[in-house]
């Protein structure tokens, strides 16, 4: 539960991102200023194409900005090279993607082990899977799991290394309502129990009610950035 007074762990200043598509330039971000505070759960809201994923990718060190600055604690990510970004992701960030991105040839446990293998002080893969309620299905392959289960495995994989930052890009985008709510529940639980700073992207406005803070994007700009006074548990959501 973050206070405004808590330390900002991630700071973005004047971020712009321009995709060069042959002749045309696509401006995805037009100058973003944003701070993320320790332990808070931020929902990033916005229409499709508004630049949410682009921003998240830059915050997570998957991509670099065209201009502007990103700082992770005392590290400047905007001038970091490939190897430094990889280390940043490896040590600090957990990702959850819309399409789960599990390795199809590995079981649930092995998918999690993929990450614990290279992390510093990780959980046991089984512990992470227990956390998302899949302890019983550890030895199933992705193809033997439902979409919601796959996404929970992805969350287990993201949190098993005890990341400082959990970035979720439309984690419920490919799921039905009930399953999606279950997944959000797990994310909220991780945020609550492990105190992981979490950013959750969605284009579903009602989901914003589970956040500590709601950031709204539109056309590459931040339109609003508000504390959510009436935070509710995911079970109470409907969309």
């Amino acid at each position: 539960m973050a206070e405004e007074s808590a330390a900002a762990v991630l700071v973005a200043r004047g971020l712009t991102k321009i995709y060069r598509m042959g002749e045309v330039d696509v401006v995805a971000l037009r100058g973003i200023d944003l701070e993320l505070y320790e332990g808070e759960l931020v929902v990033l809201l916005g229409a499709s194409g508004s630049g949410k994923s682009t921003l998240l990718n830059i915050l997570g060190g998957l991509d670099g900005p065209t201009a502007g600055e990103v700082r992770w604690r005392e590290h400047d990510l905007s001038i970091a090279d490939d190897a430094a970004l990889t280390s940043y992701r490896r040590e600090h960030v957990g990702f959850v993607f819309q399409f789960y991105n599990l390795i199809p040839s590995l079981t649930a446990r092995e998918n999690v082990a993929l990450v614990t293998e290279i992390a510093d002080a990780p959980m046991e893969p089984s512990e992470a899977l227990d956390l998302v309620g899949l302890g019983a299905r550890m030895d199933h392959f992705p193809s033997q799991l439902s979409g919601g289960e796959q996404q929970r495995v992805a969350i287990a994989r993201a949190v098993a290394k005890r990341p400082d930052l959990l970035l979720c890009d439309e984690p419920t985008g490919a799921l039905d309502f009930a399953t999606g709510r279950l997944v959000l529940d797990v994310i909220a639980q991780v945020n609550r129990e492990l105190g992981t700073t979490t950013v959750l992207i969605t284009h579903n406005a009602p989901i914003a009610r589970m956040a500590d803070r709601v950031v709204t994007m539109s056309d590459g700009l931040i339109k609003s950035d508000e504390r959510n006074a009436a935070k509710v548990a995911p079970e109470a959501l409907s969309w």
Binding site: N57, S105, L114
Partner: protein, 802 residues
């Protein structure tokens, strides 16, 4: 413990086992051919060196007219000389029933106890001659085998100094001096035409008219003379100084320039054969490994493309480029490892087989397979090199793949209207063919590599069957066109011209062509060669010199015609003069101008007109052989009649030796051919199967969409197969070219033509054979993926991915 990435690796490999197997097999062919060829090569060298050592092969050799045995002491006194062996060496003709022309027998005189200090014998069967017996001989193994001579049973007729002797074969032996009996690649060669008879030198001296004298010298150098076998030291004495000193000593006795081992005929041929073999040991395996590298490149490229999302995920969760690249390199490494393991085992097996074949060309007392660890390691390293080479582009691609961008599904491939379409070609064919043509043109590199792979496979199979063409050509042109007689008769003594009439009046004889054959030594500078010199009547029509392809070479009144191979060996060209020494009677020596060289397919031959030969011999008439054209119905009866005639030494029937030749050549070739055909088919399957798998996997979405639109499975398969068929068709013609070219390279080497000139084009039958096998292998591999085409998931296609 297996890491998660390790598990992924194994499961990925298991799911693509068809591709793993086909590629591993191509790698295995490469490794196997390398190991087999290289080990055979090393084994041969080892066997040679051991033979030279154990039988004390000399360092310096010299021939002379004749010198009293007392001269030997002068040779021994030359500084740097270790051991001197002097002896008598003489050549005589051996008329044999199983040859149309007489064979040359080289009689080498040994000490009576049979154990010379240099160039000793490795006795293989039977025993040495009894001291003092002039009618016992130990015979060279190759010759004995070629004629099926049994020690203790067989006797040989040999004409020495104009007198026919019957010599009993008591033993069979090898000598470092005569290792090279028959060049690789030839099948029917000097083995039959050239035999060595080791006899008691003192006992046969009278028959050779050289009592108390010698005409041949072998000597070894002291260990510290530079150039001596195994020598390193550098003193005042050198090999050259010894050669000069030997020449000095022998000059008064008609000595010819002494020469060292590198010019000793057997050793020289052996060296150039080995050099050529050494070359082959790199060319063939390199071709296979090249194809393997290409296949790995294509398949790995596809795997990485399919796993873009997985690679991106690995990057996103913090795996480094290096770790991911290593993961895919391991995939390649494992495939190569399977191939290499199989290849090593197969190679050892093939090596043993090849050695068996080589043992027929190169005769060594102990030819055992060597499998040096370093060589095996090189093979494995080379295959891993090919694997890494194939993976390189992909690994670079992985490093360049940005983790964020890869999260998105791949954008539709970019197609452009190709030049084929712009010229209106595709309009003739319809939309399915546009798809095929665009697909091929969109990836020109992969298409051309596939075409190259097919070409390689065709080439290997052409190479495999080419030897049969060579045999056919050899038989048709080299033998049958030149030997149009039915029976060849050799007489015990020179007979006068009346014999011709007597033969002509025998029942069934349609034509008679008399011949005069003498043993002769042809010399040009330091090079020389003993062979049968044939004098033929003008306009001879039964025995002819026929040049490849099919031109009859007329023998002029003046001058001598020799085969091109002999000309090369002696270093002469038409217009040059040769010294011809008749090796019997008065031993006349004449200089004859080379009137023409004939590119005869077969062997070493020398021909003059009967008039020229008689002039040399100072004879008015006389013949010692004849070719007969015979009424086939009378053949058996005539054969029997001829054998009863007291003056006839041998009766050689063409039908008999043609059959023998056919049998021998097919026996030797079928295994090699089979192995090469399997290798070639493996390449074709490797290329087509992997291309097919990739075509299906890359385009399964497009193809499924076509199915949804109402195309039948047959039509959809047609598009994929059209692509494959185009590659195969494009590869056929270059493959045939490449195959012919490769064969020319292999056979045009230095000395392989000693007795056998290869024709330079493969026959239509061989082309058809190669095309047939490759098309069959391609169709087979294509059918293996048919199943996948039929199981295209139509529903999955309709599910949009973002």
């Amino acid at each position: 413990m297996v890491t998660p990435l390790g598990r992924k690796l194994l499961r990925d490999l298991a799911s693509m086992r068809g591709q793993v197997v086909t590629i591993a097999l191509v790698v295995a062919c490469g490794i196997a051919s390398y190991v087999a060829l290289r080990c055979a090569y090393v084994s041969l060298e080892t066997a040679r060196d051991r033979h030279y050592g154990a039988q004390r092969f000399g360092d310096v050799f010299a021939r002379l007219s004749r010198a009293p045995n007392s001269v030997r002491a002068k040779l021994e006194a030359i500084p740097g000389v270790a051991v001197v062996e002097t002896r008598v060496v003489a050549d005589g003709l051996m008329p044999l029933d199983d040859l149309p022309e007489p064979a040359v027998g080289e009689v080498v005189g040994l000490p009576s106890h049979g154990e010379p200090r240099l160039n000793a014998l490795a006795l293989r069967r039977g025993r040495l001659f009894e001291p003092g017996r002039a009618d016992e001989a130990v015979v060279s193994e190759a010759f004995a085998l070629a004629h099926g001579l049994e020690p203790g049973v067989a006797t040989l007729p040999i004409v020495l100094e104009g007198v026919m002797h019957r010599v009993r074969v008591v033993g069979i032996a090898l000598s470092p001096e005569y290792v090279f009996a028959m060049p690789a690649g030839s099948v029917f060669a000097d083995d039959k035409h050239f035999g060595v008879l080791w006899m008691d030198g003192a006992a046969i001296a009278p028959a050779l008219k050289v009592d108390g004298a010698f005409d041949d010298v072998v000597l070894s150098l002291q260990r510290d003379v530079p150039g001596a076998a195994g020598a390193e030291g550098a003193g005042r004495v050198s090999r050259e100084s010894v050669l000069e000193a030997v020449d000095e000593v022998l000059r008064p006795y008609g000595g010819r320039p002494a020469y060292a081992r590198d010019l000793q005929p057997s050793h020289q041929l052996l060296s150039s054969e080995f050099a050529q073999l050494g070359q082959m040991t790199t060319v063939i395996p390199a071709a296979f490994l090249g194809v393997a590298a290409f296949l790995l490149n294509v398949v790995l490229g596809r795997v990485v493309q399919l796993q873009r999302g997985q690679i991106a995920t690995l990057k996103a969760v913090g795996y480094r480029d290096r770790e991911i690249a290593l993961h895919y390199l391991q995939m390649v490494t494992l495939i190569v490892f399977f191939g290499a393991a199989l290849g090593l085992a197969l190679g050892a097996l093939l090596g043993k087989g090849m050695l068996g074949l080589y043992a027929q060309y190169y005769r060594f007392p102990a030819l055992t397979l060597q499998l040096p660890a370093r060589l095996l390691a090189t093979a494995v390293l080379a295959s891993f090199g090919a694997g890494v080479l194939g993976a390189l582009a992909t690994v670079r691609h992985i490093a360049r793949l940005p983790p964020a961008e890869a999260m998105r599904p791949e954008a539709p491939a970019i197609y452009r209207r190709s030049w084929l379409e712009r010229i209106g070609f595709a309009r003739l064919l319809g939309p399915a063919w546009w798809m095929v043509a665009r697909e091929l043109i969109r990836r020109p590199l992969r298409t051309s590599l596939s075409v190259f792979g097919i070409a390689m496979s065709v080439a290997v199979i052409v190479g495999a069957r080419f030897t049969y063409d060579a045999m056919d050509a050899l038989l048709d042109v080299g033998l049958l066109a030149g030997q149009r007689e039915d029976v060849t008769v050799a007489f015990r003594h020179v007979v006068d011209d009346r014999a011709r009439n007597e033969l002509a009046h025998l029942p069934g004889v349609l034509a008679v062509e008399p011949e005069r054959v003498v043993p002769a030594r042809l010399r040009h500078g330091p090079r020389s060669r003993a062979l049968a010199l044939t004098g033929r009547v003008d306009g001879a029509s039964l025995h002819r010199v026929v040049e490849w392809p099919e031109r009859v070479v007329t023998i002029p009144r003046e001058g001598i015609v020799i085969t091109k191979t002999l000309a090369d060996r002696l270093g002469v060209q038409p217009g040059d003069e040769l010294e011809v020494e008749v090796l019997e009677g008065a031993r006349p020596i004449r200089r004859l101008r080379v009137a023409a060289t004939s590119r005869e397919l077969l062997g070493l031959g020398a021909f003059v007109s009967l008039g020229t030969l008689r002039a040399m011999l100072d004879e008015q008439e006389g013949l010692n052989g004849a070719a007969l054209l015979v009424d086939p119905r009378e053949l058996e009866r005539l054969d029997a009649r001829l054998r009863e005639l007291p003056g006839v030494a041998s009766v050689s029937r063409k039908d008999a030796w043609v059959e023998l030749f056919r049998k021998q050549s097919t026996d030797q070739m079928s295994t090699t051919t089979m192995i090469l055909v399997i290798f070639g088919a493996t390449i074709a399957i490797g290329v087509v199967y992997n291309d097919a798998r990739i075509a299906v996997s890359m385009r399964s979405r497009d193809l499924a969409t076509l199915r949804v639109l109402g195309f039948t499975t047959g039509e959809v398969a047609g598009i994929v197969y059209g692509e494959l068929a185009t590659c195969v068709l494009l590869g056929l013609a270059p493959g045939l070219q490449l195959g012919s070219w490769l064969m020319q390279q292999v056979f045009s080497g230095a000395s392989i033509e000693e007795t056998f000139r290869m024709p330079t084009t493969a026959s239509p039958l061989t082309f058809a054979f190669a095309v047939g096998i490759v098309v069959f292998a391609a169709a087979f591999s294509a059918l293996l993926v048919r199943d996948r085409l039929d199981r295209l998931d139509l529903v999955e296609v309709l599910k949009a991915r973002e």
